[in-house]
């Protein structure tokens, strides 16, 4: 059927080649249950869950670091953390939140949802997908291992040169940072190639680009940004790494280097990066709000095009992070202007969301609360962004808490709120039951209040001249009260986060929510919850934007939607969980081929941290890592994606047709092989 990863025909019978275990190392994993299955899975849904769980674990860590920052800053002359520790904390906090929380969280949503939303059975390269996840995980663990190996990186999340050089940062912390981010970068790049290919190539029949759900669109734009931004930071990281490990001179001022080179490379990556962090969240709320406003998204094409415009313009504004760095008035003016105008497409989004709310019938589930909170709180962050873009005055604002306020409003008020909206919204799809709405609302309101209490006052202390990244501040600056409030707020956020954790645990036993608990609009709601491994019993043929909605609802003579008597789910849904009718598809699913699980992704991924440790400690280890990677690449490459012995995932046999077909291929293969032997001799 519609699977791309078909069994390579010639492998089956190519003489006496041991196809099954190319290196004879393992026999192929076959289980799809139990904990082991998680190590070898290539199912985009499981991988999505892995990404999500890992990201939330890192969120707890990054949040814990933030709490330590806040405890230190609660009062002037704080003594809780030494400057050494404080600097590690804010560096790891920023790095974690950006690279190990929000990016993977959005990878989680993209992985889980894109195939479901475009009517596909998996992503284009399932095993590569697994590889991405493991690479990401090992990169994150590698970075965190620095805490136990002499100290974490401590130069801030943008790690300016030359303070990042060996002369000023002689420990290994920065090495962990450069190498760790290179590893996670590989994961992102692989993911980008994979997901873009998926979006472009694996859409169900009729799913034209302009019928894709907005989430898919925004994820696609974000993946393009990743595709092009990751190599830029890779260059920066390599240069720094070569400086540190091999004595190169890229940021060696004595040798005439220009420290601004680092800033340019970092921010050419860094600014697109912030849109990578927020666009998928925009996508999430663009799907959540219409569902709970009971109305289609207002101005779908504008939403799509403004997203593309943001992605595009996002490349031309990076130097707004360098207004004070001395790049000269002409450059400053150019980047100031380009930055301002990025507010236009973003404004379009805000207004269109409001247009969707307008005259809707708003149902305030927790997901909806978070979504609307994004619209209102992101706006605040966006407006302070516009204030920064006024370059002359940014020389006052930059490197103060006014900036810290800005980016927490866009990152927390934008990305995190969007992520929580998505979590509450898709939870029943992913796990079959809803999270408790009661706890959810408590979570939301605590978080909302805590968030504003934490980051709101930062605007004020920022304008009052409190610089960021300072481990301590003196009395008498007028910052004391606000800092105390911020710290209290941060603990409210922490409590709200614990409420969420509690909700996850407490809701385990909630009743099954059914396939379509929110009366959703997009295809993922047309299949059972959780979806079967193969997603769709029948590949959907798409005729509309919001296809599932249109299958459920027709129009009466006044153009008002009325629920249809008959519509068909796209995979078997159990009787009890149907919401307002619907039939089951009538097809035999035993014919669906799925790629088989594989050990190779995790093995291959393991090679990367080995190389990284090796570069820091001893090259032998690096060589070993290299071997693991080579072995892993060949293993992954030579292994057929569908295990011929595993009975094609779901059913033990192929029909007689297949049998004959294999036979035929065998002949071709043998003939070709035979010829070659003759020629070769």
């Amino acid at each position: 059927m519609a699977l791309t990863e078909e069994r390579p025909p010639l492998e089956l019978t190519a003489g006496d080649e041991p196809v099954r275990n190319p290196l004879g190392a393992f026999s192929r994993p076959s289980s799809s249950y139990g904990w082991r299955s998680w190590l070898t899975t290539v199912d985009h849904k499981k991988i999505g869950i892995l990404y999500g769980a890992t990201a939330m674990a890192f969120f707890a860590l990054g949040g814990l670091e933030a709490l330590l920052l806040r405890v230190q800053l609660a009062q002037p002359e704080g003594q809780v953390l030494s400057p050494e520790v404080y600097n590690q904390m804010f560096t790891m906090h920023g790095t974690t939140m950006v690279f190990l929380v929000i990016m993977p969280m959005l990878a989680a949503f993209s992985n889980y949802l894109i195939p479901l939303m475009i009517g596909a059975r998996d992503v284009a390269f399932p095993r590569l997908n697994a590889l991405s996840y493991w690479v990401f995980l090992f990169g994150g663990l590698f970075l965190y291992s620095s805490f136990f190996l002499g100290g974490a990186p401590d130069n801030g999340w943008f790690n300016y040169a030359p303070n990042s050089g060996v002369a000023f940062s002689p420990g290994h912390g920065i090495d962990f940072w450069t190498l760790g981010l290179q590893i996670t970068g590989i994961a992102s790049l692989l993911g980008a190639v994979n997901l873009i290919t998926t979006c472009l190539n694996m859409r169900a029949p009729g799913m034209t680009l302009l019928r894709m759900p907005v989430f898919v669109w925004m994820a696609l734009v974000a993946q393009f940004l990743l595709l092009f931004a990751i190599p830029v930071i890779t260059v920066a990281l390599f240069l720094l790494m070569f400086d540190r490990l091999f004595g190169a001179n890229f940021f060696n001022v004595e040798a005439g280097a220009d420290p601004l080179l680092w800033q340019h490379l970092f921010w050419i990556f860094g600014h697109p990066e912030v849109y990578i962090l927020v666009l998928p969240a925009f996508g999430i709320v663009s799907d959540v709000i219409p569902t709970f406003a009971r109305k289609p998204l207002f101005g779908y094409p504008f939403m799509v095009f403004s997203g593309i415009a943001i992605g595009f313009m996002g490349w031309g504004v990076w130097a707004h992070h360098m207004f004070a760095s001395g790049i000269g008035p002409v450059s400053v003016a150019a980047f100031s202007l380009s930055t301002m105008f990025i507010a236009v497409p973003t404004g379009v989004k805000i207004f269109n969301w409001i247009g969707t709310l307008w005259k809707g019938k708003l149902i305030f589930t927790t997901a909806m609360l978070f979504a609307v909170a994004l619209v209102s709180q992101f706006t605040i962050g966006g407006l302070s962004g516009v204030m920064h873009s006024v370059a002359p005055h940014d020389t006052q604002q930059t490197d103060t808490y006014f900036i810290v306020a800005h980016f927490h409003y866009v990152l927390f008020g934008g990305s995190m709120f969007g992520i929580f909206a998505g979590i509450y919204y898709w939870w029943p799809k992913i796990f079959g039951h809803k999270l408790s709405e009661r706890i959810g609302k408590a979570h939301f309101w605590t978080m909302f209040v805590g968030f504003n209490l934490t980051f709101g006052p930062m605007h004020i202390v920022g304008l009052q001249g409190m610089p960021r990244r300072t481990a301590t501040y003196p009395e008498g600056m007028g910052w004391d009260l606000m800092n105390l409030l911020e710290t209290i707020g941060s603990f409210l956020i922490a409590i709200s986060f614990l409420m969420w954790v509690y909700n996850v645990v407490a809701s385990r036993k909630n009743p099954h929510a059914g396939a379509d608990p929110w009366d959703g609009r997009t295809l993922e709601w047309s299949i059972s919850s959780p979806p079967p491994a193969y997603n769709f019993d029948v590949e959907p043929t798409v005729e509309h934007l919001d296809e599932w909605w249109h299958r459920k609802y027709g129009e009466d003579e006044h153009g008002r939607p009325v629920r249809r008597e008959h519509f068909t789910y796209l995979s078997g849904v159990d009787e009890a969980s149907r919401r307002g009718g619907g039939d089951d598809p009538d097809v035999d699913v035993s014919d669906i081929h799925l790629p088989s699980p594989s050990y190779w992704p995790i093995v291959l991924a393991l090679g990367l941290p080995l190389i990284a440790y090796g570069l820091i400690y001893t090259y032998w280890l690096a060589a070993l890592g290299g071997l693991v990677i080579i072995a892993g690449s060949f293993g992954l490459g030579l292994e057929p994606s569908v295990d011929p012995d595993a009975g094609h995932g779901d059913h033990g046999d192929h029909g007689p047709d297949d049998e004959g077909h294999d036979q035929e291929l065998a002949e071709v293969g043998a003939a070709a092989g035979g010829d070659d032997d003759e020629e070769a001799s």
Binding site: A14, V193, F246, N249, F250
Partner: protein, 219 residues
């Protein structure tokens, strides 16, 4: 980068995932994708688009530092051996020709020629890499080491990255060669050759740029 290379482009001697379509299978159309294009080829083009920003960054770094005074050792422009580099550039350029010839042969199922051309391409590539190694050694003798000055670091890093790309390409070509010997590379899999070829040509065009911007245009 070497690592991401290997994984992202997968094919080092490999059956890239999903490469094998099943043309004889009645239930599966030859190309079942929304665009009618194969996943692997699309993925390769995306990857190459991404590589533009990688090499762009390295080239820009070099250009920036090429205009700066050096504090020790010779500026790199003083020790170029243009005739030598021209020859090795020419070798690499011609390897692109042999690469397309290999592809065209395999599409005709002319396996013998395909193998010849694959091997020639790999050999030309190796010649280029050998030339680079030679160049590096002479430069070091002339007093420009990796750590000597800004330009040394930038030059070796840029050309080194390119060299690693060529080397990976050679590995892929050799893997294809071995696959073909073993009869695992029928015309039906010509696309694998094509994809490796795309990578190979890309590495070649990067050199076309480097040759002009780095070597020929005076600082």
């Amino acid at each position: 980068m070497s690592v991401s290379e290997q994984t992202a482009t997968a094919p080092a001697g490999a059956v890239p995932e999903g490469a094998a379509h099943v043309p004889h299978d009645a239930t599966t159309p030859a190309h079942h994708t929304s665009t009618g294009l194969s996943h692997e080829k699309l993925a390769m083009w995306l990857f190459l688009g991404s590589e533009c920003l990688l090499f762009g960054g390295l080239i820009s770094t070099f250009l920036l530092y090429r205009t700066r005074e050096v504090t020790a050792g010779p500026p790199v422009g003083d020790i170029y051996d243009i005739p030598f580099t021209s020859v090795s550039s020419f070798v690499l350029l011609m390897s692109s020709l042999t690469m397309v010839l290999a592809l065209s042969a395999i599409q005709r199922a002319d396996h013998r020629r395909a193998r010849t051309w694959l091997l020639t391409t790999a050999l030309l590539g190796s010649t280029f890499v050998a030339g680079q190694v030679y160049e590096f050694t002479t430069f070091v003798h002339e007093g420009l080491g990796y750590t000597t000055n800004l330009q040394g670091s930038a030059f070796y890093t840029l050309t080194g990255f390119h060299g690693v790309h060529v080397t990976l390409g050679i590995l892929m070509l050799l893997s294809l060669f071995v696959m073909s010997l073993r009869g695992r590379l029928p015309a039906g899999k010509a696309e694998t050759v094509e994809i490796v070829g795309l990578y190979w040509h890309f590495v070649d065009i990067v050199w076309i740029i480097i040759f002009t911007l780095v070597y020929l245009i005076p600082a």
